[in-house]
């Protein structure tokens, strides 16, 4: 049923029972004797399928269900419903053989021993994963080399910069050369240079070992740089599974015309060409439908005193924000668009199937976002 896929999630659900705590002392007492519970659906009916060697970005706001999904896929949480298969294992039952094939990196948690040099954690993991001398030397050398951490391995972890620490975390997590990487916010709190170093490393590791990578991040740059495909999740539900570029086409099929004007013009004059998003002094930004870009810019140049004009895509952050905003207000619309929901990702790569969302059906989210 897996068909050689690396990760299969089939209608995964995870419901937590949370104690409802009423405010005040009286509430506290009531909760003590007759606790009330509320069900929280952290993940609802999530299906997707990731092929070996794919790098997939997992996006969603805080509390959307990303980490819960990753915990289910790594066998740390038992799903309330549905089925997961990772590297041919049921993550929950896979035990040690399964765990030797995966790596879990949590950006806000560390496994490095705080008071010791990272080298000691590497030695510890060598014993934990039962690596032979040869394997250890080979893997260690490769990681030290590609992460550029030769100079910091013998310094106590507490003295390392955050970027150095994260690179060492990755070395410790990947020492056993896993074929599946679950990276939850690996660049959290890092400066730009450090983020870029991590990205370059993940790209290189994926290329060299054909490893499958599922990556969550707050930084859109991580995702745009690494993952051609994204999964978007919000409130426990999978909203989108597909390419980044197609996502922009769907949600915000617009281009931005960024203008520098020779003199100030009225907003009304600009609005004839498209939606004005910025207008200050001599600068303006207008959004126009993608297919009208050429015509609109030609008309603009003819009608207004344009000193400079550039055409850009809206930043992916905004596109995603629109996706969430649209989902929040028009949940039912989103449901109606769900043509191929049960297909566990089988339609991926096969183009838009018959009866699945047509371009017109995809229009609503854009409209509601505006």
């Amino acid at each position: 049923m897996t068909g050689g896929a690396s990760i299969v999630a089939e209608r995964l659900s995870k419901t937590y029972r949370v104690k409802v705590r009423e405010p005040g002392l009286a509430g506290a007492f009531r909760a003590l004797f007759r606790p009330r519970y509320r069900e929280v659906h952290a993940v609802e009916d999530v299906s997707f399928r990731i092929e070996p060697g794919e790098v997939v970005g997992f996006l969603g706001p805080n509390g959307a269900g990303k980490t819960t999904t990753i915990k289910i896929l790594t066998g740390l949480l038992y799903p309330t419903g549905g089925r997961a298969e990772v590297a041919g294992f049921d993550p929950w039952r896979g035990g040690a053989p399964f765990k030797r094939r995966i790596a879990l990196v949590l950006g806000n948690k560390q496994q490095l021993i705080w008071d010791l040099p990272p080298e000691e954690t590497l030695l510890l993991n060598r014993a934990i994963y039962g690596l032979s001398d040869a394997e250890y030397r080979r893997n260690r050398e490769e990681l030290v080399d590609s992460l550029g951490i030769a100079g910091v391995l013998d310094k106590p972890v507490r003295q390392l910069s955050q970027g150095e620490r994260m690179r060492c975390e990755l070395a410790a997590a990947l020492l056993h050369r896993p074929e599946l990487l679950f990276l939850d916010e690996p660049t959290l709190g890092l400066d730009l240079g450090a983020q870029e170093a991590i990205r370059a490393f993940v790209r290189e590791y994926n290329r060299r070992h054909g490893a499958t990578v599922l990556l969550t991040s707050h930084y859109m740059a991580d995702v745009t740089a690494l993952a051609p495909r994204v999964l978007i999740i919000n409130r426990g539900r999978l909203l989108y599974d597909g390419g980044l570029t197609e996502l922009a086409d769907r949600i915000a099929p617009v281009k931005r015309l960024e203008l520098v004007l020779e003199r100030e013009v009225d907003r009304a004059d600009l609005e004839r060409f498209g939606a004005v998003t910025v207008l200050e002094d001599h600068k303006a930004t207008i959004e126009v439908p993608r297919r009208d870009v050429a015509r609109a810019s030609a008309r603009l140049l003819a009608a207004l005193p344009v000193a400079d004009l550039s055409i850009t895509d809206p930043p992916i952050e905004e596109v995603i924000a629109r996706a969430f905003a649209g989902e929040a207000t028009k949940g039912v619309d989103a449901a109606e668009r769900a043509g191929d929901v049960g297909d566990a990702g089988g339609a991926r790569g096969a183009g838009v199937p018959e009866g699945a969302p047509s371009p017109t059906a995809a229009a609503p989210p854009r409209k509601e976002a505006e």
């Binding site: 937590y16 009916d45 915990k71 066998g75 740390l76 949480l77 038992y78 799903p79 309330t80 549905g82 089925r83 049921d90 929950w92 039952r93 035990g95 040690a96 053989p97 399964f98 765990k99 030797r100 995966i102 879990l104 949590l106 806000n108 948690k109 560390q110 496994q111 008071d115 010791l116 000691e120 954690t121 030695l123 510890l124 060598r126 014993a127 934990i128 994963y129 039962g130 909203l239 989108y240 599974d241 597909g242 390419g243 197609e246 989902e327 989103a334 449901a335 109606e336 668009r337 769900a338 191929d340 929901v341 049960g342 297909d343 566990a344 990702g345 089988g346 838009v352 699945a356 969302p357």
Partner: protein, 306 residues
């Protein structure tokens, strides 16, 4: 290329019908934590020992970073032992015996009390005692993602090596007390003592694991270690010194009696083989129970029901 997903609530049945390959979603059987695989016991034991060596090698290095602890720890031990013996001496100015035990027998018991306390401080408190912390900080997630039994990892990752001085000093005090009562134990008594001492370690471990497993249900339990300390204080005197109801509790409910009284009694020739075997039995039962409790706790943590 892309796919929009999402569905109205309550439409799950319809979705199932149009599911990709038409197969109904299989319902997984109730979960059981996977057993670690391995080529039989010897291989697993060897691997476990390898991991243990790596744990403690790392830890020794860690402790050496704080060498000053060693001296402080040493002074604390000597001071504590001195105070304990003095307190007992004050008692014995008023009485000839405590629950049927003479002064030097009580001192031998204090030695055992101190030795076990040393194990608690060296191994249990820094490991199992930090479970709450591991849960809170999420480090447990990383531990669970490793191909090593989580209980083993959580129990033995650390070793506060200096506290082992308590074990050495405690046992030395017991031996010294023995010389004063002129009751040199035979080889069989020494074997029986070692057996009951091992059982005592196992029982203390099980108590800690059991107590700390409750952290998974009541995460806001701040310091269960203090609860243990309070209970353990009762082990400072032979159980025979307590009134019958408390004795019952210490023997059968909270097995503190097996931790200090029984090894000390065996050492001073008061316990027979039956007692030693009973201690071994209690130890095995406690280990099994605590393991079950730990598994239930993990099932709760991972929400696998139970």
């Amino acid at each position: 290329m892309e796919r929009w997903v999402g569905r109205p609530a309550g439409d799950a049945g319809a979705d199932r019908r149009q599911s990709g390959d038409g197969a109904p979603t299989p319902t997984p059987a109730p979960a059981r934590p996977a057993r670690p695989e391995g080529a039989g016991w010897p291989a697993r034991l060897r691997r476990a020992l390898g991991v243990l060596r790596a744990f403690w090698a790392a830890n020794l290095a860690e402790e050496l970073e704080y060498r000053a602890n060693f001296l402080a720890s040493l002074f604390a031990t000597i001071f504590w032992l001195g105070m304990a013996v003095l307190t007992a001496a004050v008692f014995f100015r008023q009485t000839e015996e405590l629950g049927g035990w003479g002064f030097w027998e009580v001192v031998a018991l204090l030695g055992v009390f101190n030795a076990i306390g040393g194990i608690v401080d060296a191994v249990l408190r820094p490991n199992i005692g930090r479970i709450v912390d591991l849960v809170r900080r999420g480090t447990l997630d990383l531990i669970l993602s490793k191909p090593v039994d989580a209980q083993f990892h959580v129990s033995f990752r650390r070793l506060v090596v200096w506290r082992l001085a308590d074990v050495a000093f405690g046992l030395a005090l017991s031996v010294f007390a023995l010389t004063r009562i002129d009751r040199a134990p035979g080889v069989d008594a020494v074997v029986a003592f070692l057996l009951t001492l091992a059982a005592a370690f196992a029982i203390v471990y099980a108590l800690w694991l059991g107590l700390m497993s409750f952290a998974f249900w009541f995460v806001d339990v701040e310091n269960l270690g203090i609860l243990f300390d309070a209970l353990y204080e009762a082990g400072r005197f032979p159980v025979s010194a307590y009134p019958a109801p408390i004795r019952f509790v210490l023997v059968y409910l909270v097995p503190i009696a097996w931790i200090t009284t029984v090894p000390a009694a065996t050492l001073t020739g008061r316990g027979g083989w039956a007692t030693s075997l009973a201690a071994a039995f209690v130890a095995v039962a406690a280990l099994v129970l605590s393991r079950l409790l730990w598994r239930a706790a993990l099932r709760r943590y991972t929400s696998a029901g139970g």
